[in-house]
């Protein structure tokens, strides 16, 4: 059954390994979320433009990625990614063997998935700003860049925080799938420890608790951000 003695820190247990694995999960989640928001800004912008081509490309991207399982996206990027990189390198005259490391692949894969959800959040946040504000800013003579930075961005961020909090929870849980790339995060560490100690239940329950810890505390953090940014808005 559950063996507490296997979870001590040091050479006798797996405590320190699991702590490092949790940090790895956190790092990959933060990086993927960041990459996701970065891609999402362009995707949301493409969806809001008048250009039909851009709109089509953006909605094709979000529909396809959201319509196929996350695991397939990760497999596709993990197994198909390095051959693509080598093909690109060949164009530039490099002929050797190239491979992206596990963490880069993971961040790209989870980031591409997370971006589809973030883009919808950002788009909705943008649409929730009344048009009158942009018009008022225009009539005051603000440039397009100024309108974007001084009027739109602060409000988009405020409106988007609850939605991005949800995306963060999904992204955090999606990182459990990247164990297939061999990156030692919580799930991979669980597999390794269970194989060595022949006690999968102990380590799987540990993994569940670590994920619960991460999701609970990050939701507290997002609640705090929401309260802070909504100061003065009742």
């Amino acid at each position: 059954m559950f063996k507490f003695e296997k979870l001590v820190f040091g050479d006798l247990g797996w405590g320190d390994e699991f702590l490092l694995a949790m940090l790895m999960t956190l790092v990959v989640s933060v990086l993927s979320m960041g990459l996701g928001i970065f891609i999402a800004i362009f995707t949301a912008w493409a969806k809001l433009t008048y250009s039909r081509t851009l709109k089509f490309i953006a909605s094709f991207y979000t529909t396809v990625i959201r319509g196929i399982p996350e695991l397939l996206v990760i497999y596709l990027i993990f197994f198909g990614g390095s051959s693509l990189v080598m093909k690109i390198a060949k164009v530039f005259g490099y002929d050797g063997y190239l491979e992206l490391n596990a963490i880069t692949i993971s961040v790209i894969a989870i980031g591409i998935i997370s971006a589809t959800y973030s883009s919808e959040v950002l788009r909705a946040a943008f649409l929730s700003i009344p048009k009158g504000q942009t018009e008022a800013a225009k009539s005051l003579g603000l440039s397009k860049l100024q309108i974007f930075y001084k009027i739109l961005t602060p409000q988009i961020l405020r409106h988007a925080i609850p939605g991005l909090g949800n995306v963060w929870q999904v992204t955090l849980k999606d990182t459990s799938l990247i164990s297939v790339t061999g990156l030692v995060e919580i799930m991979r560490q669980t597999r390794i420890a269970s194989n060595v100690e022949h006690s999968p239940l102990t380590f799987l329950i540990t993994a569940a608790f670590l994920y619960l810890f991460l999701t609970t505390f990050s939701s507290k953090f997002f609640n705090f951000l929401e309260r802070k940014t909504n100061k003065g808005y009742a």
């Binding site: 196929i68 695991l71 497999y75 596709l76 198909g80 849980k173 459990s176 799938l177 799930m187 993994a207």
Partner: protein, 237 residues
């Protein structure tokens, strides 16, 4: 000319993969056909438990929902498939007949997962039924069961159809994780093909097209249900 094109298509690797993965579609559908109806019924029951006035029941359901929604589905699948299988008492019990099969472990994990999300969705729907409607039902002398069957559930279910539709699509995608417990559904077959042909892109793109198609059907089903049960919201009759 046409003949040449069709024979060219049937010669490509992606087409061959597509046929192979298509033959595993029923394995994926079987997972859904059992876990979705089961999950739907249990979600309704759990939603009632969540809003129950008995604090013991409502707290128990709330902590169940909290735990399941706070952990990844992969952990739940592994816990049931590898975790429970390592307990001697379970291996010797009658449950083992079911739990030794990756298929039933998958069904169990998917059901447990969707119930947690579904119960929260239905709770929102049930609580959105306005008080006046319940009171008028009571004034007409409806019993509690009749009140729920005739008034609360029909209104609540209509309300949550789009949200529950999202959950259904997430479930279609979630079935791919069951392939990690050696169960050979579409993703599992795609991985096997990749190991054999060393052509990952063709294998996973073929599987991806099938999942897209499955989700497209799911979206159409939800749209149809919305159209059918929300006639007052139809744009053109």
């Amino acid at each position: 000319m046409f003949f040449n094109i069709s024979s060219y298509i049937t010669e490509t690797l992606i087409y061959k993969n597509f046929i192979l993965i298509f033959s595993a579609l029923d394995e994926t559908l079987l997972l859904l056909l059992i876990s979705l109806p089961l999950g739907f019924v249990l979600s309704l029951i759990f939603a009632l438990g969540r809003i129950s006035k008995n604090t013991l029941i409502s707290r128990a359901v709330a902590s169940y929902i909290f735990t399941i929604r706070g952990t990844p589905l992969l952990v739940q699948i592994y816990l049931i498939y590898f975790g429970l299988g390592s307990v001697k008492a379970i291996r010797e019990s009658i449950l083992w007949a079911l739990l030794k099969e990756p298929f039933w472990c998958g069904v169990l994990a998917l059901t447990i997962n969707t119930v947690a999300y579904g119960a929260e969705i239905f709770r929102g729907g049930i609580q959105s039924v306005t008080k006046g409607q319940i009171e008028s039902g009571q004034a007409l002398g409806f019993s509690k069961i009749k009140l729920y069957r005739r008034i609360v559930f029909p209104i609540a279910l209509r309300q949550v159809l789009p949200t529950y539709g999202n959950e259904l699509i997430l479930m279609v995608k979630a079935t791919s994780l069951v392939s990690l417990t050696t169960y050979m559904e579409m993703t599992g077959i795609a991985r096997k093909i990749m190991a054999k042909t060393f052509a990952p892109v063709e294998a996973f793109v073929a599987a991806g097209i099938l999942y897209l198609f499955l989700n497209f059907l799911m979206v159409q089903l939800v749209k149809y249900l919305e159209w059918k049960y929300n006639p007052h919201l139809r744009l053109n009759n």
